[in-house]
């Protein structure tokens, strides 16, 4: 019995060690190459597909520049971890830090420390407080919501009944995408007949849509705050078995290549609006900063609309 336990403990430690070793192996082999500039990238949560895409965009853009290398860190949705990561980058002496912060307030101080240490910082997607950072790159959720609203006004001929499947309504993107949508449909005869907080989750959106379908005979469109929720609503309509998925227009937001954009190609969604990750732009501005060029304090990214008409050409900028 005791021997077995010892054997087991040894095996577990060995396996865990193997995972830790293989999990960071890629970065170490990357580090051995001589590069001019080292960029530290701290991502707040790689559990979200959109953030996985952001890292992929950064990696893709960085490949084009042989003079830089990027070290990626994932804070796994933990503010304290992310604070530590920024400080690690400072003591490591990286040339530039890119951070997509989990929360503004707790990360303001570590970012300021980096600036004090002479390391420029690019803040992506979510802001930090004050002005102790080099450049902020982010998109405008209110504008995206407004564009979605305007699109539905056009697509429905100015009137219709809409179901709104909202993102987590205690989060800023959820509130802004809702606010923008209301601005977009203002003055038209479009009416929101049913809305629910789906917390960005597809299974929840699917269940809420089923309730809406049971209650209302006439639904003209579904406005979902993210593409997975729009996809869930489509499946709910399809599972109903009355063919209503063909008459209802489903609109989503985010337009990740393998998610929203593909759904548009498949004819599942009528339209999706890109919420750009800013990964490519971050590398572009990083190189400008490292070369000593001046960059604006705030860069607001535009959005693109993808519909069946323009999806083959890669969408249209708005």
């Amino acid at each position: 019995m005791r021997n077995l336990r010892g054997y087991f403990v040894f095996l577990l430690i060995a396996v865990s060690g193997l995972f830790i070793w293989s999990g960071c192996g890629k970065k170490q082999s990357f580090q051995t190459k001589k590069k001019t500039w080292v960029i530290g990238m701290s991502q707040c949560n790689l559990g979200e597909p959109w953030r996985v895409q952001m890292n992929a965009d950064i990696r893709q853009a960085a490949k084009k520049h042989s003079e830089i290398q990027v070290i990626f860190k994932d804070a796994q949705n933990n503010t304290a971890t992310q604070q530590a990561q920024v400080r690690e980058f400072i003591s490591q002496g990286v040339d530039l830090i890119i951070i997509s912060p989990k929360e503004a307030r707790p990360l303001t101080k570590p970012v300021a420390e980096a600036i004090d240490a002479g390391i420029p910082v690019i803040v992506l997607d979510r802001k930090v407080e004050g002005d102790k950072y080099t450049c902020f790159i982010g998109a405008d959720n209110v504008k995206i919501g407004r564009e979605a609203g305007k699109y539905l006004v056009r697509a429905l001929g100015g009137k219709g009944k809409v179901v709104e499947l909202m993102g987590l309504m205690t989060s800023t993107p959820g509130q802004e995408r809702h606010k923008g949508f209301l601005e977009g449909i203002r003055g038209s005869k479009i009416e929101i007949i049913f809305s629910a907080d789906c917390k960005w989750l597809e299974p929840v959106a699917q269940n809420e849509m089923k309730s809406a379908l049971a209650r209302f005979a006439e639904i003209d469109a579904v406005y979902a705050h993210n593409d997975p929720s729009a996809h869930g609503a489509y499946l709910a309509a399809k599972q109903e078995g009355k063919g209503r998925e063909k008459t209802i227009k489903f609109v989503g937001i985010d337009a990740l290549p393998h998610e929203g954009v593909r759904y548009v190609k498949e004819g599942i969604l009528s339209a999706t609006f890109q919420y750009p990750t800013g990964g490519e732009e971050a590398i572009e501005y990083a190189i400008k900063i490292l070369k000593g060029e001046k960059v604006p304090k705030t860069v607001t990214l535009g959005t693109r609309i993808f519909t069946s008409a323009n999806v083959a050409q890669g969408g249209e900028p708005l």
């Binding site: 559990g47 299974p203 049971a214 996809h231 109903e240 078995g241 393998h258 593909r262 498949e266």
Partner: protein, 345 residues
């Protein structure tokens, strides 16, 4: 005058509690009926029949369909809880199974049968590891299954590369534009039966387990171990082996729920099933099975799943705001459990 009203109210309270007592073993059902009546009175009328939405056949089958995954998890969870244990890993194992099944069918283009078998075996394996740690090393179920919960989530993210497994998500996937027919078949009403295969899976599964728990030696051993583990051991029951089987079955059912989840969402999400273990435990406990082990049963779990499903459906159909939804849910759960416990035991 005031005393008069007071005694009257007292009388009414006594009457209610006496009625509840008279229900005896049907108290669980009474709670279900109470929630059902809430549904009948509180939901708006449907557009096609004019009846309350809640009374329509489609709403009833929607509830069963939407809560089938939780019901399947709760069925496995009941086996474990009867032995006085708990399994926190079912949500993560569900996510792992959903990802694995999608990866096998969409990514590698496997046909249905081998993919099903491998996925269910993977669920069994997760259960085996937890059960082994618990029965062999006497690790506390909470701790052993907590470790499995974390590890299974890691495994799900690892095999999927951290993204949702759906056609076209990676260029090397065998299927690039559509999922296999099985996915849609699972979620469409069968022509003559009128309900979806996922719902049938839930109901058949819980009925089989009901028979096993109530009428087989294995079932009696579960109760004996949960009631008094030492006494069970002394009376010659192989406690470790029975517990191991309970955890293996629980893992297998988490895998079945994972396959259902993949079919329902038409993709394999490595994040699927996050916090589902809590909903499964809630369904078991609201049904009336004791967390201490040794008391309860499968029928109660069916009732508990329906109570939770009904509450969520009522709140959803009415379009209640999130904050009030959570508050109401908390209140109704406590009331449902109180109805069951009102008789002194």
């Amino acid at each position: 005058m005031r005393e008069d009203t007071q005694t009257k109210t007292l009388h009414i309270f006594r009457l209610v509690s006496r009625v509840v007592d008279l229900l005896g073993n049907f108290r669980g059902l009474a709670a279900l009926i109470a929630v059902f009546m809430l549904g009948v009175f509180l939901t708006p009328r449907s557009y096609d029949t004019g009846l309350p939405v809640f009374l329509t056949l489609r709403t009833q089958s929607d509830v069963l369909f939407e809560y089938a995954e939780f019901g399947i998890l709760a069925t496995g969870m009941t086996l474990v809880i009867l032995t006085g244990g708990i399994d926190l890993s079912v949500g993560s194992v569900l996510g792992f199974a959903a990802t694995l099944f999608s990866l096998l069918t969409i990514g590698f283009g496997w046909s249905l049968a081998p993919a099903l078998i491998v996925t269910i075996l993977a669920g069994c394996f997760a259960g085996t590891v937890s059960g082994f740690l618990i029965s062999r090393f006497r690790m506390q179920p909470f701790v052993a299954t907590l470790a499995m919960m974390v590890a299974a989530r890691g495994a799900a993210k690892w095999i999927s590369g951290g993204i949702k497994v759906q056609p076209g998500a990676q260029t090397w996937y065998c299927l690039q534009s559509r999922t296999p027919e099985f996915y849609e078949w699972m979620t469409q009403k069968l022509p003559r039966v009128g309900i979806q295969p996922i719902t049938i899976l839930f109901i058949v599964n819980i009925l089989i387990m009901l028979v096993i728990v109530r009428y087989t030696r294995f079932g009696r051993y579960l109760y004996a171990i949960g009631g008094n583990e030492e006494a069970a051991r002394l009376s010659g029951i192989s406690v470790g082996r029975v517990k191991l089987v309970a955890y293996i079955l629980c893992g297998a059912m988490a895998a079945l729920a994972g396959i259902s989840n993949a079919a329902r969402l038409d993709l394999g999400d490595p994040e699927a099933g996050f916090t589902y273990e809590l909903d499964a435990i809630a369904a078991v406990v609201i049904g009336g099975t004791s967390l201490m082990g040794g008391r309860g049963g499968m029928f109660l779990t069916l009732v508990g799943t329906l109570i939770v499903g009904y509450i969520n459906k009522i709140l959803s159909v009415r379009g209640v705001e999130e904050a009030f939804r959570l508050l109401a849910k908390g209140g109704i759960i406590v009331a449902a459990v109180l109805i069951q416990q009102s008789r002194k035991e």
